[in-house]
Symmetry: C2
Subunit: 364 residues, 2 copies
């Protein structure tokens, strides 16, 4: 693999490079393009995570933020998880909030408390004080991790880059961390829509710089996580979010599949589609067949196994995998995944059983 040079990367989608061909024709990449596949490709959100003993061992040596910023370690946990699980794609180990630092926010992952932003954005003046991200240089540690991971991964295993979507990033910036009710976020959105749109525009300008740098470094596909967008009504999404997500996705390098994911989006699916993405992520609350019909068969879909079922048993997991595959109906363009990320206490053997069941039950 030599995808760490821009020249090689640029030829990644041509067919005169055998390594590149292997990636291009991998089940995951074929499914992103809605082409036929020998079996349904599967990967799992947060597949490199605390549920895995080997991850915890690496994590114990450092802080969460330092793990993200140390390319060797980020690459190690990325590659280990993908190989251990036998999934059809790796996703670079990173955090959606890393981009907040070059935008001027003070980010900390407080022990046991999740992310804390010490200077949250609450007013128009706060928005004005944010920095414009001119390049992704200050996030180069992510690109280094991608280059190292791309070199270490099997040559036919795609690597997914990612970022938070504008709304979810804005909500963290405004709330100063996770939130239950998004009071500050919705208040700014409605009571100072000028400041809101300025903030969202700034994020939407930064995202393609970051994602294109990840692609340049060796990612074959990218995912936008709009994890918390499900707290919005469709009217709010259309007015306050859609234009910005659309702008971000439009400026991602053409030809690279974009996965657009959110949870609690049952009333937003048509709007997520409109905002863009080659693959739309579904959570477990909507039956996959119904969700796909509403999104339209000219897009691929990803999902949508209830991650809590990973706490049951291989037999129950297998039954529910079968149901989802049946709903997908063998139609090209289904990437199997969870409805949201794997929880820390999840038994590893059940995760392995899930991957095995997807491969076995979907083999054509």
């Amino acid at each position: 693999m030599t995808t760490n040079s821009p020249t090689t990367q640029a030829t990644n989608l041509t067919s005169d490079n055998p390594t590149t061909d292997a990636l291009h024709n991998s089940p995951f990449m074929r499914a992103c393009r809605r082409e036929s596949v020998p079996y349904t490709p599967v990967w799992l959100m947060r597949q490199a995570g605390r549920y895995m003993r080997e991850y915890r061992e690496v994590r114990a040596r450092t802080t969460f933020l330092e793990l993200c910023k140390t390319p060797e370690l980020a690459s190690e946990v990325t590659v280990y998880a993908a190989e251990r699980l036998g999934v059809d794609a790796a996703i670079i180990f990173a955090d959606i909030l890393l981009i907040l630092e070059p935008l001027g926010l003070e980010l900390e992952f407080a022990k046991g408390e999740g992310p804390v932003i010490h200077n949250p954005v609450r007013t128009a003046a706060d928005v004005d004080r944010l920095r414009e991200m001119e390049s992704a240089d200050s996030l180069d540690y992510v690109m280094q991790a991608i280059r190292q991971t791309r070199r270490a991964l099997k040559p036919d295993l795609p690597l997914i880059g990612f970022a938070g979507a504008p709304f979810t990033l804005a909500s963290y910036m405004i709330e100063g961390g996770g939130s239950k009710n998004y009071v500050h976020t919705k208040r700014l959105m409605h009571a100072d829509s000028g400041a809101w749109h300025a903030l969202m525009s700034r994020i939407a300008r930064a995202l393609p710089l970051y994602l294109n740098a990840q692609i340049e470094a060796g990612a074959q596909a990218v995912q936008l996580f709009d994890s918390w967008v499900g707290c919005l009504s469709p009217a709010d999404y259309r007015e306050f979010v859609l234009p910005h997500t659309l702008q971000a996705i439009r400026n991602i390098r053409p030809g690279v599949p974009v996965i657009h994911f959110g949870t609690g989006t049952a009333t937003l699916l048509e709007l997520l589609r409109e905002a863009g993405g080659d693959v739309i992520g579904l959570d477990w609350r909507i039956p996959l067949d119904e969700g796909w019909r509403r999104i339209g068969y000219d897009r691929a879909v990803m999902g949508n196994f209830d991650q809590i079922l990973l706490f049951t048993s291989p037999a129950i997991i297998r039954e529910h995998v079968g149901r989802i595959l049946q709903q997908a109906g063998g139609r090209p363009g289904h990437i199997f995944n969870l409805g949201h990320g794997i929880l820390p206490e999840t038994p590893v053997e059940n995760v392995l059983a899930l991957v095995e069941a997807v491969h076995e039950l979907s083999r054509r």
Copy 2:
């Protein structure tokens, strides 16, 4: 008012009692029956709550559980909130978890932590150890509060009784408190469906005893809160929840309107309807017109103002009230409410502005 005697209560729906007529023909009760109304009736979930100074003063004198168990105080905050806001219904001050005590659970409202159940239900043996609730006698403090409230309320102001729905109660019993991911709940549901159904049946048997006692004591309508049911897929709801909610609702005294409420239910609306209820509650994530169309116009609907908009301003609130009323289209059978309960930090003046806007903008 003499509705505290069973005899009088039994005649509550006949037309030869002028007081009863006033209740029967109140806008709220007419809307429950999808009859024409002079203006859209409105009440607000958690209208007697911490956002109100007068409530905080009463609350400061005691613990939350003692407030629920002291009829004078529960009645005082109920009546005060309804009169202060000028809403079209009062809802008895109580908590959905009170019924857990006669079922054999040790309930505590830990300061600043929300409810804690010290002996959660995790296994079939735990389910077996639960007590069967033979009558609502041990919850008589709620019925006393209802009788006192009914006497104190204006004779044309309906009083709503309520209980938690089987799923939401089961989730608290199993998790031992609030939950983010419902791991224990879903594990029991899927891994020991016999124990799950036994638990849900037991709750479904207890609920009508409790709700009918509330009706007997003087409640004109009752609401089932299935606040957390939105974490389920439609398939899980159908198999593990619907039969039990249906059983509970079927055994509520005929002729008394039942409001069936949940949040995050965009993919469950048809199933909520199937489980029962004269009025189906909608949260803010689904446009009211779309939700009502899916539920069917032979049911009334309640909702669905985003409670976070109460943190903006009277002008913005008024605009969004107008949108919801427009979606309701003047069709009989709309009760205005929030998508979920009022948050503690909500400015009272904005709540008043909401009620005023609903009345003004909907007056025919």
